[in-house]
Symmetry: C2
Subunit: 499 residues, 2 copies
């Protein structure tokens, strides 16, 4: 209990010295030793709070919506919720939302990391200004549906002097939007050696490693073999993320490596490994176009199944070794341990099972949205794909639903039991997009895989893609920075400082 220990130490210190009355004004110049105690008088007051968390809301307080997670689903909900009707508490291990469709661009410096990260406080200012609204940097460790209460533990990574701290939060409404986690299909070594591409720190790690390997391979005495290994970037998984990253990488190689690392430029290569087809959800013609473009820009496409990942090579099911310097893994997502441990009926794929109003039907006042949730089989609906646009639409829908309930007096715990929840959630697919580097992108505007519709490729779709994303970046600050980053990358090239 370091909190307690610190408290005792502090009390002892200040009690020992005896404290003068607080000075009226801070002293304007350096004082003699006694003034130190005066200047530090703010450490003297108050006993330790005994509140172990946030208790149930009282009649004079607003009802409390607790949101777990800060991804597309949670953030859209947080943004749209009516802060006059509710207090919002967001619990997440990161204090920002990641604009995932642009994350691949940050790995090579086309965009900067902060341009794709939006602080929750900017998405919903109430969490930092309203007395009853909070953001907690913590993980939810358990839900007590019966008592309308969750258990949390603070994230203290980076803090040497504080241990994780447990606390409870009572909720009136609970929204689980904690997302999924990268799936490795149990392949040995993948978790240890591969880098995923889901958070900003993953992109930072890829960028640092790539720049390190570029520099290491230039050192005298390194064999050609080892240079090729260090500079071999292997991407496992041919979905939009894998393809976009491969495209960005090959663009980085052709534009920046050739100019800034001309000694080793002939040693760097990109290989994309996929067990089936790349971009399997896209229109056939678009897929062929993507394969042609990627191959043209130097990306090697390998069809294979990875069976083992070692620190410097992957091994395919036919025993082919593929040595690598950087290994990026993007083979899709699966349920997180938190979702696995939740004792509620599950949807196919192990997701939290929800009904047509995104509720967990077996309990009161709990909803689940985004990648962590899926329609129960009893609804007769298919589980929706783990896409940003699904999550965002669900967050938007649920905010509206909760706002309506709140206005009708159903905001409190158990108050909406017999109320009408209104229209069901209906998802309409607006199309898929994937960039493939060098001012080229695919835009598939078909409503589903079987449907017919417009399918674009090339410069026009690159422009649409960039514009579409630019207007979806949430704050004006980040829209501005994304535009500025694109401009400076175009004019000056990408930044190669390894910081």
């Amino acid at each position: 209990m370091p909190w307690l220990r610190n408290f005792i130490q502090l009390s002892a210190t200040f009690t020992r010295r005896g404290l003068p009355p607080p000075p009226r004004k801070p002293s304007a110049i350096f004082g003699p030793p006694p003034s130190i105690a005066q200047l530090l008088q703010h450490f003297s007051s108050a006993a330790r709070s005994t509140d172990p968390g946030l208790g149930p809301t009282k009649g004079d307080e607003k009802p409390r919506v607790v949101v777990l997670g800060s991804g597309w689903a949670g953030c859209r909900l947080i943004k749209d919720i009516d802060t006059k009707a509710y207090d919002i508490v967001c619990v997440s291990p990161r204090n920002h939302m990641v604009f995932t469709p642009l994350l691949a661009s940050t790995c090579v410096g086309t965009l900067e990391f902060r341009s794709v990260a939006e602080p929750i406080g900017r998405i919903q200012p109430a969490i930092s200004t309203e007395p009853g609204s909070y953001f907690f940097l913590a993980n939810c460790t358990g839900v007590d549906f019966q008592n309308h209460q969750i258990q949390c533990q603070t994230v203290t990574e980076g803090a040497k002097t504080v241990d994780p701290w447990n606390f409870k939060i009572a909720y009136d409404k609970l929204v689980i939007a904690s997302g999924a986690q990268a799936s490795t299909f149990g392949i040995k070594g993948a978790n240890e050696h591969a880098i995923f591409l889901r958070e900003v720190h993953h992109a930072q790690e890829i960028r640092r490693k790539l720049l390190l390997n570029l520099m290491l391979s230039d050192v005298p005495g390194i064999s050609d073999e080892e240079k090729r290994r260090l500079l071999h970037c292997v991407v496992v998984g041919g979905g939009p993320t894998g393809v976009e990253f491969s495209g960005e990488l090959s663009d980085f190689i052709q534009k920046d490596v050739h100019k800034r690392y001309s000694h080793v430029k002939d040693y760097i290569h990109v290989t994309l490994v996929e067990a089936n087809e790349i971009l399997s959800s896209f229109d056939d013609r678009l897929r062929k176009y993507a394969i042609k473009q990627l191959t043209k820009s130097g990306v090697r496409l390998v069809r294979g199944i990875v069976k083992d990942v070692q620190s410097d090579k992957i091994i395919l099911s036919d025993d082919t070794d593929i040595p690598y310097g950087v290994l990026v893994w993007s083979t899709g997502v699966g349920p997180s341990p938190f979702v696995n441990d939740l004792e509620v009926p599950k949807a196919p794929g192990g997701r939290i099972g929800i009904d047509e109003w995104l509720r967990i039907p077996s309990v009161q006042d709990v909803f689940a949205i985004g990648d962590c949730s899926g329609f129960l089989e009893s609804t007769g609906r298919p589980v929706l794909p783990a896409l940003a646009q699904v999550a965002e639409r669900q967050g938007k829908y649920l905010a509206k639903l909760l706002n309506r309930l709140g206005k009708a007096g159903g905001g409190r715990a158990d108050a909406a039991k017999d109320m009408d929840f209104g229209d069901q959630f209906v998802y309409r697919h607006l199309g898929s997009m994937a960039t493939i580097g060098r001012y080229k992108a695919l835009v598939d505007l078909r409503k589903s895989k079987e449907a017919k519709g417009l399918a674009l490729a090339g410069f026009v779709s690159w422009f649409i893609w960039r514009s579409a994303y630019l207007t979806r970046v949430i704050s004006w600050r980040n829209r501005f920075y994304v535009a500025i980053n694109w401009l400076t990358t175009f004019v000056f090239g990408r930044d190669i400082s390894r910081i």
Copy 2:
């Protein structure tokens, strides 16, 4: 020897399979399994290079200038050197120069990290394009003055699969610009617990820690005592760096913390601890103005000597405890272990002793510039302060000197023995500047501490300060980003994503 191990593994793999002839063109679509070997044919060739480094330059090559370090001194030299007369090899543990006067601004997000880091390849493109010029991410581990040769070891932090690699570089001219290191005066615990403010990763650590503590202190159940500790930022050392950081911090608190962390805004404080006077090199009136402004913006000034640093408090020599959440240390610099180990006559303060032409007089073709060097007592000159402007002027002077020698045929090792080195290096102090937050800065234009001259304070000097720095940031890209950062900080506030 992982290089060798990898080589053997790779050779074995590819020898076992037997290699088809390389395909003429990469296949445009996914091929059947045999094509994997084809696609990976680039791993098949070449034996391990036996070259353990760069040997002495030959008659048909340009003479080689080896520069140790990438700070103000080294980078100015690298920028100005005549790449037609010399090949340049830069050896440094970081691949960028840090624009140190603006580093304090990045700790709270007034500026972004990359805006103050300039990649060496942008400062001198020849190191990435000329066949004989290089940048090596490495530390110099020893100098063999007799044989004109240095020993280096690669920096492999972040690379799990490569061990540090040793190599040698022969030089025609050697410039030691490896800088100094933060000095803790042997105070127990300072190295473990304090954060220095000399590299970009220090600023990143401060920013992450500050944001973490702001969030941790908002968690329910944390005592008031512990909140005050977590949010107490203590700065030790009242030189320009400590004062600038304190000023930035109090500006961040008043502008951003009050808005974005209003729940805990009353718990955050800044204390600046200094054993003597703050800004001791500045004009008396300016110093008083600085004290007034800092106090007004809430910085507590404490005169005291730190005798012990623990994980959550510092202890002064009069036994006062000062609990802290973030501890920043900026009490000046001292010689690095590398400089201590160099067997050459030293200047006062343990720096490498140099003569009026910045040479190490006891050996041939070796120069030392920047914070690592100082005039030998025999020159009758004082050791210059460890300032960016001294280092930058020395780099500029030495580049000119070397260019002149190169043109006159004195570029090779031992070729300049009896040549005239021209004018001695003379340092003229152009004045000192320090910002104290909130659009206020001090500009001391006196030539020395005793001289008379213009001394400015307030908004006008803040403007001069900002403009002066803006034009000294080396590339247009970074000038542009610094301006954009200042603009967005002004319009939108600082970014608080903890990434």
